[in-house]
Symmetry: C2
Subunit: 342 residues, 2 copies
Amino acid sequence: MSKKRVTAKEIARELGISVMTVSRALNNRPNVDAETRSRVQEAARRLGYVPNRIAKSLVLQRTHIIGVVVPEITHSFFPEAIRGIEEVASHAGYHLILTHSSEDADREEEVLHLLESQRVDGILISKAQTVKENRTYRQLVERKVPLVFFDRCVPGIGADCVGVDDEVGAKRITEHLIVVHGYRRIAHLCGPQHVSIGKARLDGFKKALQENQWPFDEELIVEAGFHEAGGYRAMKTLLQLPPERQPRAVVAVNDPAAFGAMKAIQEAQLSIPEDIAIVGFSDDLRAELMRVPLTTVRQPAYEVGRKAAERLIEAIEGSSGQIMEIVLATEQIIRRSCGCNP
Amino acid sequence: MSKKRVTAKEIARELGISVMTVSRALNNRPNVDAETRSRVQEAARRLGYVPNRIAKSLVLQRTHIIGVVVPEITHSFFPEAIRGIEEVASHAGYHLILTHSSEDADREEEVLHLLESQRVDGILISKAQTVKENRTYRQLVERKVPLVFFDRCVPGIGADCVGVDDEVGAKRITEHLIVVHGYRRIAHLCGPQHVSIGKARLDGFKKALQENQWPFDEELIVEAGFHEAGGYRAMKTLLQLPPERQPRAVVAVNDPAAFGAMKAIQEAQLSIPEDIAIVGFSDDLRAELMRVPLTTVRQPAYEVGRKAAERLIEAIEGSSGQIMEIVLATEQIIRRSCGCNP
DNA sequence: TTGTATGCGTTATCAT
DNA sequence: ATGATAACGCATACAA
């Protein structure tokens, strides 16, 4: 039925030569007669030959493919990071298999298995939210699959990691609320504590309070997850506190959570920043477009992608050696939601 | 150095049986002794066996992988569409290799070759903006690579296509400006005319004017491309016309172009919609957050992805037959930039 | 139920 | 410069 794909063997038969000569000619290897080479190339074009990378990978034990696992494609941070990854990868002759876990642990395990069985040369991963244990990552490391985490890291299992300085970023933005504005009761809508960035941002938040001898109140820490809906719910919870215990300012774990919280605040007929100030983290596309533009912390997503890919390729090509954790600096984007620029 | 990966052969040796029995046991084939099977499975787990899909694909001539080519990951339409694709694909037992062309013809050709040489079972593609000729697509079709276009289609080359009804969508939104608001001079910031959606939307725009016997003026059609910068430039051009020839309303080819145009309008100290009304196309995340919320046309991105994937899988699995073009309906999202909801 | 031979498409190796 | 053979890891077809 569907005519079979043309292989090197066909070309060889057509030209009355051996497959090896065809292979050599097509891969620009030395020791091929110039004329033979051009006859082979002509025939390959004429017959519509497309080399079979599968067979090639099988014998060479290399695919030149990097597997990438992201938890969410719609998350604005990730498309940026992916561009950085791709830039570096394609420059070094690698291609990408992009997969996503939808923030789901089972799905993540599934795609990791796929990538491993597909024999990708290495894996770049940003951990899904619901992953509670590191068995799968450990197995990969044991089997010597080059593995680099980015953004959401997993320390202590022998894999490299490239992230941003979440703790410092969270600490500084909190200090902005303390030092510049002097808000006393500050709440934190935090992320899941088993995800590195969730924990780091909470830590930064706490440190800011401590170092400034600022009042700390456990009831002002509410888990919100990374999405808008969670931020909305968490803020609602805070707004149910008696008036004198409500927060004067809020540090959200990321921008989507902040958006949800802003909605809750506005629904309560309160105004931002007069009644409650709020800051986010990540500088989402929408942050500056909000009715009250959101003060936030910008992460160098593109750079994170680049660095992670560079690290992975070093690991793949053997020039790595030392396990390392790379931390990139963040930048404060001051807008109006914190009380500045009235 | 790095211990070699464990293969079926190792398991066979370990257990003193043949590779075939191992293969059968692991793939849940019949004709394997229950006890043998469990011994094999235990050994596989113990040794950390991960089947080599590369070898498998080589012999089965099937990869169960679908290649996807998008022009832009950051384009909000595409992440949505990709989710639809993935949903259907993973449900049918396929995985995705995601690639992107960055709207560049050369890069697109490169990734198509990669996907073909990787022997993906089929390809889903949304054409890059700069592609001027269809040779590569034609070759794929000739070589019987199952191919389905989505969103940006290429008709007449024997490939399926799933898109939205761009022409009708553009016509209706233009008619909204004509019939509801009665704006006389209406401009169109158009897309590249060699890209299906660029042409279709311009056609819809023209039809709306024609059928309503509305004045048509060639100088009010300006090419803007699909990005914000192009929309900004195109609008600047229009604003340099003498006042009496300037447009009263603008139909932008998509939302990013509309955002750019809005910026140009506001920089000219004009107000939206009082001086110039504007509408977009795609319902970008940011559309409703703009200072003046943007009236636009929503495309069912998720559904487009789903349908395209369904079509492709039918083609791969042979139940296809007829080439077809599937067109999904759009929905008008009326906000304030057109002059409604004051 | 289990094993053997063979082939998928390519490249490395050793010959010629 | 070119060719023959084996190998990569697995599955199909057939034999035992």
